[in-house]
Symmetry: C2
Subunit: 317 residues, 2 copies
Amino acid sequence: MPPILVIGSVAYDTVKTPFGEASEALGGSATYFSVSASFFARVSLVAAVGRDFKEQDWRFLEGRNIDLCGLERADGRTFRWAGEYGYDLNDARTLDTQLNVLADFRPKLMDAHRAMEFVFLGNLDPKIQREVLGQVRKPRLVACDTMNYWINGHFNALLETLKLVDILIINDAEARQLTRESNLIRAARKIHGWGPTTLVVKRGEYGALMFQRNGQGRISVFGTPAYPLEDIFDPTGAGDTFAGGFMGYLAGIGKADWSSLRQAVVFGSVMASFNVEKFSLDRLRTLTFTEIELRYKEFKEMTRFDDVVEWQPSWRV
Amino acid sequence: MPPILVIGSVAYDTVKTPFGEASEALGGSATYFSVSASFFARVSLVAAVGRDFKEQDWRFLEGRNIDLCGLERADGRTFRWAGEYGYDLNDARTLDTQLNVLADFRPKLMDAHRAMEFVFLGNLDPKIQREVLGQVRKPRLVACDTMNYWINGHFNALLETLKLVDILIINDAEARQLTRESNLIRAARKIHGWGPTTLVVKRGEYGALMFQRNGQGRISVFGTPAYPLEDIFDPTGAGDTFAGGFMGYLAGIGKADWSSLRQAVVFGSVMASFNVEKFSLDRLRTLTFTEIELRYKEFKEMTRFDDVVEWQPSWRV
């Protein structure tokens, strides 16, 4: 089972939703990704935290069998994010961002990490994403996230990074903003032209779509609805948890063919559906693999339908 | 194959989208429904048109094998609707509505129609929906649509109608408005309590969800993404076309068990996906059953994923 290398942020989040609030809770894109992926494969986390990073959080990540050799303790404070959600849980309002130690984060990979084959470039400056990827000797599968900030202000750097990426995992607003196409098939075609052969579009409560370029300019599509939940407490990190389940499963089976990618989208959706059930990473702390398998089967039950075999309409036009 | 009885509107629509416009084109909820359902089953259309209803439109509906004995030619003009779409094709802006002959529409069913078993109550005054249903002797499957106007202004009348309905087919904004619940599972539970055992939620470009009440307060869920289209010219009538494919298929096979309902949601989605490809009903005019079958298979290909059989993660928590 090839291990996964992930770079991204480790943070303390202060989050308010209509259902409660969490203060200085463990968060960050690389944290959600790593914990989610750790259910499927070994993960090496490359990120920076400050002197204030709590011992209990370090131990929690170690307890998930996550390799923390690349988690650098820098002088200063850990990255802080504060946000708020209204009843429309699809939209986060950022109240405060303090980069702190992330401001000077320039990862130098150690030799063991340079040998890795599965790489996830979490949402960071695209220039840094490219620098890190350049240190990996023979990447086999590279997935990448980004956000409106980099799309707006660092578009050309982002295009340079995308040339080296196999799978871009973003939400639908980002896909539209990045390509200036409102139609997702056209957006996919544009992104395919920039490098990534696969585009995964996360749509929150509406599920996920995946577009893969194949021969003769054709595009294969896979789609799944989201798992309907009666209570969604905190959507923070859902996208990173999705990416963790997605990449974790692929690394876990060591494959990335179209059939495996489809399963990976479902595992990503499964992991995200658990994550939003409690604040911060709390649901993932108690989650078991048996629960994951069960929900995967529920996705199957929710989406399958029979072929039409025994019926013909009485008349045809 | 039991025939379907549908009541609703027949209209002339004037529609503007970013891709063009159509003036005085054939439209109306019952029209879209009937033409869509006619690919699967015999449909009896009960509605009113004015003296200005065009001979060619009458012949088109007859040519689809639709029974027009209940299509009343009243003194006055046919119902008119004018609307406009921006680049977000999910949202129609109504520019003008002229009820005309619909204002005094009080259908009296003829004997043949009173014997029907599959009934679709198109978007009309819930009091009229109930009056019509009261004339049907032994309805076997009753589906119903409604809209914000009736939800706001005729809520109690709508609840009376819903007591007699098996399947409510509405969009997600309507489901939320009707139940005052933002969460769709809670909304489904409320609607199930009012009468309909099945709720179908149309979500436009995001597909459809279906919720069925079963024993012990549990809810079965089926979901499908929408068929991704590169060019969407006119979303007018997509919801009614969906309902037509949905009910048409059920009447066509004469069943409404959970497996058939799931297939019906897919056929509804297939029909809606064709309808938006051209203005008015134009795409349905040339559509063949072979094309419908092919797209049904594409939906299967787009949504299926394999079980996880050959793999166990190397360690479990």
